[in-house]
């Protein structure tokens, strides 16, 4: 990536913006500049980017900044929501005809992955109890028919072919064949073609007229650049596509073409190709795709986790307990678990924009945390509630149970007591500021 980590750059831009309350136009503009670059780097068409940024700006300016987010994160949150919306609902399926066979026509540029996608779809449908038939209508590329036949053999899906005949005739006879052989779905593999090739586009129109497909799926390579809009617009105008298959998502392309195609056609992305294997076709998840295109997966997952994982009520309860100095080892463990639910700790630190920089290169010893947890797990509920009763023999038992040395148990108990002592002091008359400081330190450690 020529620009390095996007989250880093965004943090840099946002450094001065520590505002709370409502997002100002200045916050939004600064953050959106980076978002614009990110989308362009991800190959989203520049016109689509322009419209999108304008829409986000409108929504974001003046909106409230949530408690646990900074303005940049808040903007990203809005961006992500809008992106996901734009991508459409999840898990669109192909629609089946009321009277079989359902005809699905695969179309697209050369090398997009139509033949592979058709075979994968055949396998998927078969596993769902359908009786698909693959029809080989790519009469131009050398050995394209053979390729479909080999894939059909691999996936045990029958392949209909007539050699290099007129594709219209192939489509017609494939339908007849399906009727006679009880195939309820016909997957028509057509030749790759340029959207500006009039002769070949006409051929597709004729095939469509003959086969009356219920679904025309445009197959788009995830690596496609700015031209994706021209291709999609053109195929859609001339054929009226019903959905999109995005292929080669197992590479490192950010896949902005998916967004471009969705934006200009309004047609849902139904499947994505994720491996060279025949089972590498998956339902489309708009949220995942949005993350991928934005390239801020780390920050997004932090925002998401911060929103969902930390139970607000629990956090308040904990704070109250701290202030009353009733904090027990049980609470301590609960806090540990909440932190762990958010993911590996070192990654987590990196996720927090204000922390990432300070903690860079610092190693967080996760095994240490696991050890602490094991020690607490090895205690009886009573011991957790009142650690004072833990004497020498109990310590030995706990150490054995947790697979640690007695010294480790001693250290944990000592730390816990110190912290508790500190809290007691604060509760008993420390200033508000000091209380906050202690709380912060403790919850960070826990």
């Amino acid at each position: 990536m020529p620009f390095g980590n996007l989250s880093d750059r965004l943090q840099e831009t946002m450094k001065k913006l520590r505002g709370r309350g409502k997002l100002t136009e200045k916050d939004v503009t600064a953050a959106l500049r980076e978002v614009r670059l990110a989308l362009l780097e991800a190959d989203v068409n520049y016109k689509v980017v322009k419209d999108f940024i304008a829409r986000v700006k409108e929504r974001a300016v003046g909106s409230d900044v949530l408690d646990h987010l900074n303005p940049a994160q808040q903007v990203i949150k809005v961006v992500n929501e809008e992106l996901t919306n734009l991508m459409g609902g999840s898990q669109a399926k192909i629609s089946f005809a009321s009277r079989p066979p359902t005809v699905v026509m695969m179309v697209g540029l050369q090398g997009a992955g139509k033949t592979t996608a058709a075979a994968k779809l055949g396998k998927m449908l078969k596993s769902q109890g359908h009786r698909p038939l693959l029809a080989a209508a790519d009469i131009y590329r050398p050995a394209a028919i053979k390729q479909l036949q080999v894939l059909g053999e691999q996936t045990e899906v029958p392949v209909f072919s007539l050699g290099q005949e007129d594709p219209v005739r192939i489509a017609r006879e494939a339908l007849e064949h399906a009727d006679n052989h009880g195939n309820d779905v016909v997957l028509l593999d057509t030749a790759g073609r340029l959207h500006i090739d009039e002769t070949l586009m006409d051929e597709l129109v004729n095939v469509k007229a003959a086969a009356q497909p219920h679904e025309i799926l445009l197959v788009v390579d995830a690596m496609t650049g700015q031209d994706a809009v021209n291709v999609a617009e053109s195929f859609n105008e001339q054929l009226g596509i019903d959905g999109v298959v995005v292929t080669k998502l197992d590479g490192d392309a950010r896949g902005g073409a998916a967004l471009s195609v969705k934006a200009v056609t309004g047609k849902p992305i139904k499947y994505v190709g994720t491996s060279e294997k025949m089972d590498g076709l998956e339902a489309f998840h708009p949220d995942r795709m949005a993350n991928r295109i934005l390239g801020m997966g780390d920050m997004l997952s932090f925002i998401e986790k911060a929103e969902s994982t930390v139970d607000k009520e629990k956090a308040q309860e904990m704070a109250a307990k701290m202030q009353r100095a009733e904090f027990t080892l049980e609470d301590f463990k609960e806090q540990l678990q909440q932190v762990k639910n958010m993911g590996p700790l070192d990654q987590l630190m990196g996720l927090i924009p204000t922390m990432g920089k300070q903690l860079q290169g610092m190693e967080v010893d996760e095994s240490q945390l696991r050890r602490v947890e094991a020690i607490i797990d090895s205690m009886t509920p009573e011991e957790r509630r009142s650690p004072a009763i833990i004497g020498g023999s109990r310590r030995k038992r706990i150490a054995r149970g947790a697979g640690v040395r007695v010294q480790d148990v001693n250290r944990l108990l000592k730390q816990f007591n110190q912290t508790k002592q500190m809290m007691k002091q604060f509760a008993g008359g420390g200033s508000e500021k000091m209380k906050k400081k202690a709380k912060k330190r403790f919850s960070l450690f826990g």
Binding site: K146, D221, G251, E276
Partner: protein, 346 residues
């Protein structure tokens, strides 16, 4: 042209093993008579016009756009912004676009450019400068056989490029052997065999699923034994993120180098002009696995501009050598940086 010089004076040896028709036809008649496939367009145009027509599709739009964009306009920030959009739209990428714009601004200052149309020329200059990283001529050495290895991601057009290249080299008088090194994809071998038959060159292939390094070894042995001038080795398409497959590519390369007393003449990375910024990642990672010597930019006959090659040539310091501008045998051209830049920007 280098190839003509190399092969032009070569004595014509009768070779019973070569399948396909004799080598005497003109390009046009060869296309008419050999093609087992339906021809897609009237073949009435001469070769030169056809090449022109192919490239002009790329050129179309851009010239018009740049022209209408700059003519009669004063050089100001608005114009720069519009030019930026134009470059982004051509898949040049944000980073390279900024670089180009900086260079352009500098020239506007130093050369005191005030008129929009003068900007167009300056931009074409800058683009050509970026592209001129190295000699763009396809290197065919005096060694026999010269070896060309073709690599790239899935669907970029490797096999088709090989077919066209084999046709061209044969036209120039070379004895060509193809190695069917894509042993993974279903019917990839059949596809290359169809091309070999069409063009009339020999091919060495194993069965699907066999070791590509073994195919490379055998193909080279055959090329030596049969005294071929050029061996073109196909490889399976692979996404650059598949580490194991990239290692496999390295192995094929090592096997070939070990059996040769010189290094491989060309390792061509095939890039699809439709590809956006990912081409950069492709170029980098493929170059890390094998010493790529040139780029073949395919599918330039569509509406995609292939602007990412500007960044690619900068990043990996490897020149574009060939461009694919159509589906016919002869739709493979030598790359010319100045022409390409002019074609893009008028």
């Amino acid at each position: 042209m280098v190839l003509k010089r190399l092969f032009g004076k070569k004595e014509k040896t009768a070779d019973a093993e070569v399948h396909g028709p004799e080598n005497k036809q003109t390009w046009e008649s060869a296309a008419e008579q050999e093609s087992p496939e339906p021809e897609r367009e009237a073949d009435s145009l001469g070769l030169f016009q056809r090449l022109r027509a192919g490239l002009s599709k790329t050129r179309q739009g851009f010239v018009d756009k740049v022209e209408s964009l700059v003519s009669g306009r004063a050089v100001d920030e608005d114009l720069f912004e519009d030019l930026e959009d134009l470059l982004i739209q051509a898949d040049v990428g944000v980073d390279t676009t900024m670089k180009l714009m900086d260079g352009l601004r500098e020239r506007v200052r130093s050369e005191k450019i005030t008129e929009g149309s003068a900007l167009k020329t300056a931009l074409a200059d800058e683009v050509a400068r970026l592209l001129a990283v190295d000699d763009t001529t396809l290197k065919i050495s005096e060694h026999r056989p010269s070896v060309i290895m073709v690599v790239g991601v899935n669907g970029s057009g490797k096999t088709t490029t090989i077919g066209k290249l084999a046709y061209r080299l044969k036209q120039e008088g070379a004895k060509v052997i193809l190695g069917a090194g894509d042993t993974f994809r279903a019917a990839a071998i059949d596809q290359l065999e169809a091309w070999a038959e069409r063009v009339g060159v020999e091919i060495v292939s194993h069965s699907t699923g066999s070791d590509p390094a073994a195919v490379a070894y055998d193909a080279l042995a055959a090329a030596k034994a049969r005294n071929a001038d050029v061996l073109i080795l196909d490889t399976a398409g692979r996404l650059q993120t598949k580490t194991n497959l990239m290692k496999e590519l390295g192995k094929v390369h090592r096997v070939l180098e070990r059996e040769l007393d010189h290094s491989i003449d060309e390792i061509l990375l095939v890039l699809d002009a439709t590809t956006g910024q990912n081409a950069l990642s492709q170029a980098k990672i493929f170059s890390d696995s094998v010493p790529v010597t040139g780029i073949a930019l395919t599918k330039l006959d569509g509406t995609a501009k292939g602007g990412i090659v500007l960044a690619v040539t900068q990043e990996v310091k490897v020149p574009v050598k060939l461009i694919g501008v159509g589906e016919q045998y002869h739709d493979l051209q030598d790359f010319d940086a100045v022409e390409f830049a002019e074609a893009l920007f008028g």
